[in-house]
Subunit: 136 residues, 2 copies
């Protein structure tokens, strides 16, 4: 499970990838259903990381930075400091280890591997294609 904030970021970036001109944050919010003020915060963060370009004033908005559509969900999660990136055990917050282990350890390792692989496989471009198909 990704943090909700990471999910928001991926959705917003995916939407921006379907647009070729700057879009107002409030319009991104409308299109995705993300709370506008909160989205503004997320966009600002992504701007500082160089993922989006922002422009203030009339005819301003946010736009995907060139090449950013190649970013994987995993890379976005890392940028957002998503806890999904950290190694944890199924029965708690600490990671399993040879000395502190749990009966689900083996299963959970495989499960996590699959999840991370998927996050690395999917990109903003995938998200954009998905949104385009859906809007048809």
């Amino acid at each position: 499970m990704l943090a909700q904030t990471t999910g928001y970021a991926i959705q917003a970036l995916g939407f921006l990838a379907t647009q070729s001109t700057p879009v107002l944050i409030r319009n991104v919010a409308k299109a995705t259903g993300i709370p506008p003020s909160y989205l503004a915060k997320i966009m600002h963060l992504l701007a500082r990381k160089g993922i989006v370009r922002t422009k203030r004033g009339t005819r301003g908005g946010v736009q995907l930075a060139p090449g950013a559509e190649k970013l994987s969900f995993y890379e976005v999660a890392v940028l957002m400091d998503d806890p999904v990136v950290a190694m944890r055990c199924m029965l708690g917050t600490e990671p399993c280890s040879p000395n502190r282990n749990c009966p689900c350890h083996e299963f959970w390792s495989k499960q996590r591997e699959r999840e991370l692989a998927m996050l690395k496989r999917k990109s903003i471009a995938h998200m954009a294609r998905f949104l385009k198909r859906r809007s048809k």
Copy 2:
């Protein structure tokens, strides 16, 4: 991922399943590394659900209710109101649906299925055997 509290419950129940006489909550806490005051709360909750029996006063303690070692991790999670039981989407807190969907939906459904199957397969008795093996 189970909530930490559910993990605590499973560990504590597993430990109790290795014992044949009542154990003081503080000793369960010592054996499992769970914060004693918090464990007292969890034990109280499990007692109200009929999973453990408690006894106050000298030579008191908590003890697994007969048959409780057959409980699956899943059933414990349900008793603890663990959010793992709820259907959610990978990109947020709402569930995916035919109209509100996401590009990870198919993957995530399978992933969740595997997780729930595992939680239903493993029982307190498994946990107990695991703890016994480890303490050797």
